[in-house]
């Protein structure tokens, strides 16, 4: 059984790669898939914190590569979703601690154990980025509708295309009211500029900060708005054609109906 191996990347930091990796992974696990999340941000790990497993780390990616433990020993099973596991990054090394080949090897091995491997890529386009994409067969580019983020996403898309990696886009932290006032680019603007296929649109939601504080992905709260959104993205990843939700901004019609979902 060979899994789909997907890297989540962006170029720009802080656009929501880690949050997206955690929540999309959880959404897929909720739908019954076996999912392994890999934190490729060696030295600045955060996927463990976002998922609330930071206290259970025993071994990490670098130790696996160096043969100081078995791969299975390093995997942390999520206590809430039984088909979700995470392979944490090392905190105390830097990204040159492993090579692209070693990373690809680990990801291939993981691919034998599950249905989806999601790799959380560090910011930037340096060594860490190259490692993170080394094991992947496809990519999700996460961007926000802001000038600098789009510019960086564009650079990253260029690099991914050089490698022949198929990619799709998630537009994160959309604020429909700012799109309305013309202060934020619309999703259409973003997909036009980047010429990339859209996988999902995630509106800005202040609850995310709260859930990160707790280490509980928002997808674990079925009543939360973003739960449904990540579920749709998971379904699109499975291959289903799911229409994007319309978010109406209260008080206006027409121009305000921006695609979101």
């Amino acid at each position: 059984m060979s899994a789909r191996r997907i890297v989540l990347t962006s170029g720009k930091g802080g656009v929501g790669k880690t949050t997206t990796t955690a929540n999309l992974g959880a959404a897929l696990a909720k739908r019954g898939h076996k999912v392994v999340l890999v934190d490729a941000d060696i030295g600045l790990r955060n996927l463990d914190l976002v998922l609330g497993v930071e206290k259970r780390i025993v071994f990490d990616l670098v130790e696996v590569v160096e043969g100081r433990c078995q791969l299975r020993q390093a995997l942390i099973k999520d206590k809430r979703l039984e088909s979700l596991s995470i392979l944490p990054a090392a905190q105390t090394r830097d990204k040159t601690a492993i090579t692209e080949l070693q990373m690809a090897d680990v990801v291939t091995q993981l691919g034998e154990l599950c249905d989806f491997v999601l790799i959380d890529c560090p910011a930037g386009i340096e060594h860490g980025f190259r490692n993170a994409i080394a094991g992947a067969a496809e990519a999700i580019v996460v961007t926000t509708p802001e000038v600098s983020a789009i510019r960086d996403a564009d650079r990253v898309i260029g690099k991914l295309r050089e490698r022949g990696l198929p990619l799709r886009l998630i537009v994160n932290r959309l604020r429909p009211e700012l799109v309305r006032s013309g202060d934020m680019l619309s999703v259409d603007d973003v997909t036009d500029i980047l010429s990339a296929e859209l996988l999902g649109i995630v509106p800005d939601d202040e609850e995310v900060i709260d859930t990160t504080n707790r280490g509980e992905p928002i997808v674990l709260q079925p009543e939360a708005r973003l739960s449904g959104i990540y579920d749709k993205i998971a379904r699109r990843l499975e291959g289903e054609v799911v229409p994007f939700t319309q978010f109406a901004v209260p008080g206006f019609l027409g121009r305000l109906f921006r695609k979101a979902g």
């Binding site: 914190l49 609330g52 859930t211 707790r214 280490g215």
Partner: protein, 157 residues
């Protein structure tokens, strides 16, 4: 289920949770990022412990584990032998019998002084031998640092 209940009742503000989680995770990060400090700690620890028991430094391991509400240091230190053959606990040093009261100055000067002269000196010398501690081998003043090596472990008590 318990978590569900917890969510309804003791729901702590998440900022407080975040602060506490950060404190622990950073402590853990700092410890793993300061190997020289950990090495010094390990050396000093072994040195202190070695005063009491003999250890094999090469199989000693010191690590840090993040537990639920704290970061704990775990030390695994195989003990090879006690440092000193333990002696049965020494009976507390008995004070020599108090000198008999001075005979009243006296009716019988010759006899009394003769009697007094025979008594041992009333100032007790702490190491005063045999009379004080029945059964013990003469206690030495200085503790030996290390016995001659031989079979590990205790000699039979």
């Amino acid at each position: 289920m318990f978590e569900f209940v917890q969510r309804f009742f003791g729901k702590q503000p998440s900022s407080a949770m975040a602060k506490e989680r950060l404190r622990l995770v950073l402590l853990s990060d700092h410890l793993s990022l300061a190997p020289e400090v950990v090495e010094s700690l390990k050396r000093d620890l072994l040195e202190v412990i070695s005063r009491y028991v003999e250890v094999d430094p090469s199989s000693c391991d010191v690590s840090f584990e993040q537990q639920d509400k704290q970061v704990a240091m775990l030390a695994n230190i195989p003990i090879v032998a006690m440092r000193n053959r333990p002696t049965p606990p020494a009976a507390p040093p008995t004070t020599p019998a108090p000198p008999p009261p001075e005979p009243p100055p006296s009716l019988d000067p010759a006899g009394a002084s003769a009697a007094v002269a025979d008594e041992p000196e009333p100032e007790a010398v702490p190491d005063a031998p045999a009379a004080a501690a029945p059964g013990a081998a003469a206690p030495k003043r200085k503790r030996r640092r290390k016995r001659a090596s031989g079979a590990p472990g205790f000699s039979a008590i």
